[in-house]
């Protein structure tokens, strides 16, 4: 069973108030107020001095055991919201692998599920590990990376919905670890909301919460547990209002959702799950045996709704 053995997160120190985004993004005062007061998004992390490679390296550097375990790493899977983030053939993923001494691993990027790509990366890495033979140094491991720059307008904010923070994460997975075991994964895609799919943004807004509720329910069913058995929900940091309304829709107490990072980091692309996991661990919110759910929505062109249930 796929398990998370270690997690590291990197967020740039530099904080940018949402008001500072108004001029460069052409936002009106009303739009800024919407972000701050309605959605609870007050600031994001951005550092123009850090490259994408820098972000990935900072996260990997936080995995203190990686250097001693690196020979067991057979797969490096980079889950990324934006499909193309460098001109071809610039390849930060393989730069990072070479620097970390992971050239022996099979490394690739998994994308086009927007911000839900990280959960698919965990699922894929776990499946690859399950049939991988032991290495001479022990059972095989996978390194799942996330990390993105707010390099273009589409990567800076989602109109009327969210603002993006730069950041990154690194996560070591095993096929048989016992720390955070993956019990279930559910994913549902709505490609009709792509630019060629013919559906309207308004219809997407109406479909959003029911679709997320459905995929959460499916993940819980697969895990064989009910909503009330969840100790915690680690959300995507899209905004506060979405989660308040979703909680009403599915009957989940709002205090069961770790929303603290929405306010001061915003939406860290695919890294939200790991940012929130780190916070949960730091605050002692997870005890052995606790079940928790991770939710993600990829809402670029086309939409992906995904949820995972873990046991800590």
């Amino acid at each position: 069973m796929t398990a998370i053995d270690a997690v590291s997160v990197f967020l740039p120190q530099r904080r940018v108030p949402v008001e500072s985004l108004a001029v460069p993004l052409g936002l009106s005062d009303m739009q800024v107020r919407l972000f701050r007061r309605f959605h609870g998004l007050t600031e994001v992390r951005r550092d123009p001095g850090l490259s994408l490679t820098d972000l990935l390296m900072r996260a990997a550097a936080g995995l203190t055991t990686l250097s001693t375990l690196r020979r067991r790493v057979r797969f490096v899977v980079y889950g990324r919201a934006f499909p193309v983030v460098t001109p071809y053939p610039v390849n930060p993923l393989h730069e990072v692998c070479r620097t970390l001494g992971l050239g022996h691993a099979l490394a690739f990027t998994l994308t086009q599920q927007s911000c839900a790509s990280a959960l698919a990366a965990i699922d894929v890495a776990g499946r690859l590990l399950a049939s991988e033979p032991d290495t001479p140094d022990g059972p095989p491991l996978a390194l799942v990376l996330t990390g993105e720059k707010a390099f273009t307008r589409d990567a800076q904010f989602i109109p009327e919905t969210s603002v993006f923070s730069e950041g990154s994460s690194a996560c070591l997975l095993s096929a048989g670890g016992g720390r955070d075991r993956l019990l279930a994964y559910a994913c549902h895609q709505r490609g009709e909301f792509d630019v060629a799919g013919g559906e309207s943004p308004a219809r997407f807004q109406r479909a959003y919460r029911p679709a997320l509720a459905e995929v959460i329910g499916r993940a819980l069913d697969r895990a064989g547990i009910g909503l009330s058995e969840l100790r915690l929900v680690l959300p995507h940091n899209v905004n506060l209002m979405t989660w308040k309304r979703l909680c009403r829709l599915i009957g989940l107490p709002l205090d069961r959702v770790l929303l603290d990072n929405v306010t001061d980091t915003g939406h860290v692309f695919c890294a939200d799950a790991f940012v929130n996991y780190r916070t949960a661990r730091e605050r002692g919110l997870l005890r052995p045996g606790d079940r928790y759910l991770v939710a993600a929505v990829g809402a670029g062109d086309g939409a992906t709704f995904a949820a995972m249930v873990f046991e800590h």
Binding site: V84, Y88, P89, H94, A107, D154, Q189, G191, G302
Partner: protein, 347 residues
């Protein structure tokens, strides 16, 4: 050993027309802004006025290229569980979640994602993931376009090409009623092993399909080591057999120590993402009257990946692929050439 998948159907095409979506001024504007911002930090530049050009001069949309192939390989009553889109060079709508859209237009609304940043190895990785999913049917699409909208200073693919391959689980074999893949469907154009020209997708006739009997990938393979490693892999996977065809991607064929001669089919040059698969389909279609095992291999020189797949056409009793240790010492006969080509009938 069996790798649990059978190649059921395949289609491919060379695209010469414009991408319809690039005729939309709003999408052109978004793409121009995205690409300009993408290249700026790396000191590269999108030429002024590029997006004022007619859509036909701009490049392609992988969503359109792949969507055209889906009806040729997936009938409506055969839902797909997993769709993997593999690419190296990106398309002209680089911010789009194309795989999510393809899920929408593919029977079964499959789980879908794209694999990239791995050069020519990405499609092999996609096949490997399909194997691990153990799903009823998996659709693997590999795409490339012959355009980069900035001064990349690297060769681009020679043509806009896409290859779609529908794989089914061996248990139950995936297809309804006809596991041979012979059923004609809307979208078929009747072509068999053609060149995938501008007339639309070519469906490749695969007879009863082909089982994937081995699938291997090696990382960190230097250019000085790849020929020996590839030869060893091909030798192991063909050991003891005199009737195995070998298909090599152009980058690997260029370094191949061959003779090889008539037993080796080489992928078209400057088609790194589709070339080996294009040639593999040629090989399978060409051998339809007299099916024989095929080993296909490709090398990604920039990133150091060697990927190898072995397939066994339906109707054969002895698979090529994983063999017992006692068999591995057998000589490599499939690649002998001038000194005694064991397969004069091959290309």
């Amino acid at each position: 050993m069996d790798d649990g998948l059978r190649l059921l159907r395949a289609a491919r095409h060379t695209v010469t027309g414009p991408a319809a979506l690039l005729g939309d001024p709003r999408l052109r504007s978004r793409a121009a802004e995205y690409l300009t911002d993408l290249t700026r930090p790396y000191g590269r530049r999108v030429p002024d006025g590029l997006f004022d050009a007619p859509p036909g001069a701009l490049g392609q949309s992988y969503g359109e290229m792949a969507a055209e192939l889906i009806p040729a390989v997936v009938p409506p009553d055969e839902p797909v569980d997993l769709l993997v889109l593999a690419f190296a060079v990106h398309d002209m709508l680089p911010g789009r979640a194309t795989a999510a859209y393809l899920s929408h237009v593919c029977p079964g609304t499959p789980m879908s994602f794209a694999l990239c940043d791995q050069g020519s190895a990405a499609a092999f990785t996609g096949l490997r993931i399909a194997r691990e999913y153990g799903c009823r049917r998996a659709l693997l699409v590999t795409v490339e376009q012959a355009v980069l909208p900035y001064d990349a200073a690297v060769p681009v693919p020679a043509r806009h090409r896409a290859v779609a391959m529908l794989y089914g689980a061996l248990a139950g074999d995936g297809a309804h009623g006809d596991a041979t893949g012979n059923t004609a469907r809307p979208g078929d154009n009747g072509a068999t092993g053609g060149d995938g020209g501008a007339g639309g997708p070519d469906r490749i006739e695969l007879g009863g399909g082909a089982r994937v009997t081995a699938l291997r990938q090696h990382a960190d393979v230097g250019t000085g080591d790849v020929t020996a490693l590839a030869a060893a892999e091909v030798r192991e996977l063909t050991s003891g057999r005199t009737d195995v065809a070998v298909v090599l991607g152009a980058d690997l064929a260029a370094a191949w120590p061959g003779p090889g001669g008539g037993a080796v089919t080489t992928g078209p040059p400057r088609q790194p993402s589709t070339g080996v698969w294009w040639a593999l389909l040629d090989r399978l279609a060409g051998d339809a009257a007299r099916p024989r095992p095929v080993v296909a291999a490709d090398y990604e020189p920039g990133l150091g990946y060697l990927s190898v797949v072995a397939l066994e056409p339906a109707g054969r009793s002895e698979p090529v692929g994983e063999r017992g240790a006692h068999e591995r010492a057998q000589p490599l006969v499939g690649l002998r050439g001038a000194d005694g080509d064991p397969d004069p009938g091959a290309w």
